[in-house]
Symmetry: C2
Subunit: 352 residues, 2 copies
C-alpha cells in the first residue's frame, strides 16, 4: 500500500487502529475490505461479514431533510458494504439518536424509510437502541455470511483487468451540491434519491472479480483508494454520459456544473466498482445478463499508479485525487473554497 498515509482520512483511521490488537479470527486487514471478514470457529464453509456505518453529516449539513431518506440510506449504506464483499445478508441492528423535541411522526418516518429499504432488499431490522442527542444521527450495523474462498475484498486487481461499475454515478453528489449551493430543489429532488445496495449483484461479482469496493464516498475517491491499496492505476475510457446517471448528466448540463464534479465529491451513490480479468469478461457479462444486471464498463487497470481519463479528444489526462480528498477532510464545511479548488484542478487537468 503506497501513499495511503498521504490521505488524511486514511491517516486518521490508522491513528485509531494503532491502538487496537488484531483479532486472530479476522481475515481482512484495515482498509482492505468494505466489511470485516471474520472466521467462525467450527464453521469451515462461511465467513461472517460485519460492517457499521453512520448517517450523520448528511443530516447536520442539511443534505437529507426527509427522515424517510435518513432511514433508507442508513440501511442501504450498510448493506452496500456487505454487497462489496459478496455477502448474503442476515440483518441489521440500528442505533437511533434523535433530538428530544422531535415528534412521533419524525421517528415514524425514519422507521418507515428503514423498513422500506429492508423490504426492498429482503432483509430485516433485528434490534436497536434509541438515544436523545442534540442532532439526529443514525447508525446501522449489518451482518451476513460469505462462502469461504468466494469472498472478495478491495485487494487483488491486476493490470489489464477491466473496470466496471454496477450502475450510474453521481446521485449522491448531485443531492449534496443542489442542497449545499442552494440550487432549486426541483433540479434534483430528495424524493428520487433512493440508492439501492447491490446485494444480488455483489453475489455475482464475487464469482468473477479480482477486487470490489462500493462508491459510498464517490467514484473518484473509490478509484483513488483502490489505486493506493493495490499500487496500480486506472484508465477511464467511458464518457460522462455513460458514467453518470441520465438525471445527473442532465442536471450538469442544465445547471452548468462540470460533469466530473459528480464523480469527485464525497457523497457517493452506493454502486460497486469492480475489476474483471479479460478472460472472465464474457462469462461475467453472460451471467450478469441472466439476472438483468447491466454494469457500466469504465476502463482498464494499468500498471502506473495513476487515474487517467481519456477525453473525447482522445487526449489522456492524469488526475491526482489526494489534494481534493484532503480538502474534503480539512475544509469540508468551507464550500465555496472547496468548489473553487475543484474548478482550479478541473481546468488544470483539462476536465472543464
Amino acid at each position: 500500500m503506497k501513499g495511503m498515509e498521504k490521505i488524511l482520512e486514511n491517516a486518521m483511521i490508522n491513528s485509531w487502529t494503532k491502538h487496537f490488537k488484531r483479532s486472530p479470527y479476522q481475515i481482512n486487514k484495515s482498509h482492505k475490505a468494505d466489511a470485516e471478514l471474520i472466521e467462525i470457529e467450527g464453521n469451515k464453509s462461511h465467513l461472517l461479514a460485519v460492517t457499521i456505518d453512520s448517517v450523520a453529516e448528511e443530516i447536520t449539513e442539511g443534505i437529507y431533510r426527509d427522515p424517510f431518506t435518513m432511514g433508507w440510506v442508513t440501511v442501504m449504506s450498510n448493506f452496500s458494504d456487505l454487497a462489496a464483499v459478496g455477502a448474503e445478508p442476515l440483518g441489521i441492528v440500528i442505533a437511533v439518536s434523535v433530538e428530544a423535541e422531535r415528534d412521533e411522526k419524525f421517528h415514524g418516518e425514519i422507521a418507515k424509510g428503514m423498513s422500506a429499504a429492508c423490504q426492498k432488499l429482503g432483509v430485516f431490522v433485528l434490534g436497536g437502541d434509541t438515544n436523545t442527542t442534540p442532532t439526529t444521527s443514525l447508525t446501522g450495523c449489518a451482518f451476513g455470511f460469505v462462502p469461504r474462498g468466494e469472498n472478495i475484498t478491495r485487494v487483488g486487481c491486476r493490470a489489464g483487468d477491466v473496470v466496471f461499475m454496477s450502475g450510474g454515478a453521481g446521485a449522491g453528489n448531485a443531492m449534496g451540491l443542489v442542497r449545499l449551493t442552494k440550487l432549486p430543489e426541483e433540479l434534483f429532488s430528495e424524493k428520487y434519491y433512493r440508492p439501492i445496495a447491490r446485494i444480488k449483484e455483489g453475489q455475482l461479482v464475487r464469482r468473477f472479480a479480482t477486487c470490489c469496493m462500493d462508491t459510498s464516498d464517490g467514484l473518484l475517491i473509490t478509484l483513488d483508494q483502490l489505486l493506493r491499496i493495490n499500487n496500480l492505476g486506472f484508465v477511464v475510457e467511458a464518457g460522462w454520459n455513460k458514467i453518470l446517471t441520465p438525471e445527473v448528466f442532465e442536471l450538469c448540463n442544465r445547471a452548468k456544473i462540470p460533469h466530473w464534479f459528480m464523480a469527485a465529491g464525497i457523497h457517493g451513490e452506493f454502486e460497486l466498482v469492480f475489476t474483471i480479468p479479460p478472460e472472465g469478461i464474457n462469462s461475467f457479462l453472460q451471467a450478469a445478463k441472466e439476472i438483468g444486471f447491466q454494469p457500466i464498463q469504465l476502463g482498464v487497470v494499468q500498471r502506473k499508479p495513476a487515474i487517467e481519463f481519456v477525453l473525447s479528444s482522445k487526449k489522456r489526462v492524469k488526475i491526482d485525487m489526494a489534494p481534493l480528498r484532503n480538502l474534503w477532510f480539512t475544509a469540508g464545511s468551507d464550500l465555496s473554497r472547496s468548489i473553487q479548488e475543484h474548478h482550479a484542478w478541473g481546468k488544470k487537468w483539462g476536465l472543464e
Copy 2:
C-alpha cells in the same frame, strides 16, 4: 406481558418496532432478551447473538468527562448485553462521532479506553466508522455465539426462584448523581468507574438460571422490566449494605443520599440480575465458587407482580417504579424535580 405499555420507554420502542417485519430467523421477541438471538442457516449448534448500544446522553449531560471512560463504557455496555444471554463473544465494531474541534489526544483516549476494555475481556475491535458531529457519541455493535438450547433470555423465572445479582449495585448512579448535582469530585471519582461486563459469569449463569438481564438501566428498572415481561414480582430481602458496593454505600452515608436512590436511577452498572430455581442453588453456588464468582442473593420471585422490599424492621413495603421510570423519560433533564419526586416516593414507601 402485562403493563409493558405503561412504561413510556417501552411504548416508544413499540412505536418503532411496529414498522418492522420480524425476521423468520430471530428467536427472541422484542423486549425479551438483552441481545438479539438469530438462527444461522446450516448451523445447528449455535445461535448468533448481536447487540447495539450507544453512549451519548452520559457524554452530553457531562457525566463522563474523560474520553477513556467514554470508550471503556461503549465496549463494556455492549458486551454486558452479550453476557446477559450467556454468549461467547466474537468482537465489536464501533461508530465514533466526535466534534470537529477535538484533538488527536481526545480521539486517542477514547481508543485507549476501548482497547483496554477489550483486553480486559479478551475480545477485539474488528472495525469501525468515524464521523464529525456537534457532540460526541459512540456506538458499539458486539456479537458472539450461544450454544443452542443454552441461551438465556429475560423470560422464564418462576415464583420461588431465588434472585441474584452478579455484583454490587450503584456505581453508575453514584457517578451520575455526583456529577449532575455538582457534588465534590472526590466523593466518587470517574477514574474508579470502570464497570466490567460479566461475560464469564453469564456463561455460567446460562447453565443454571431461568432468566437474566443486565442492570445497564439500574437495578430497580431491571427488576421492574423483568416483572412486566414475566408477570411475576420480586421480594428483595438483602439490605442496602449487601446490595450496594461498599464505595457507593459509604458515599450515601457521607453525602446523606438515600441508599435506594442508587438502585432507582437509570445510570446502571452492567451487572447481571438472574433467577435460579431452589433445586439448582447448591450446584450453581458450587460452580460459581470454582470460578471465583461471588453473586449477591437479593431475594425471591413471587407470584404477585410487585417489587417489595423487606426493611430492617421486617416490615414489607411495595414500590411501583412506573412513575419514576416515566419521570426519567419525560423530565430526565429537570433534575431537581426528579430528585424531589424520588424523595416524595421514597418517604411514601418508607424507604427514607
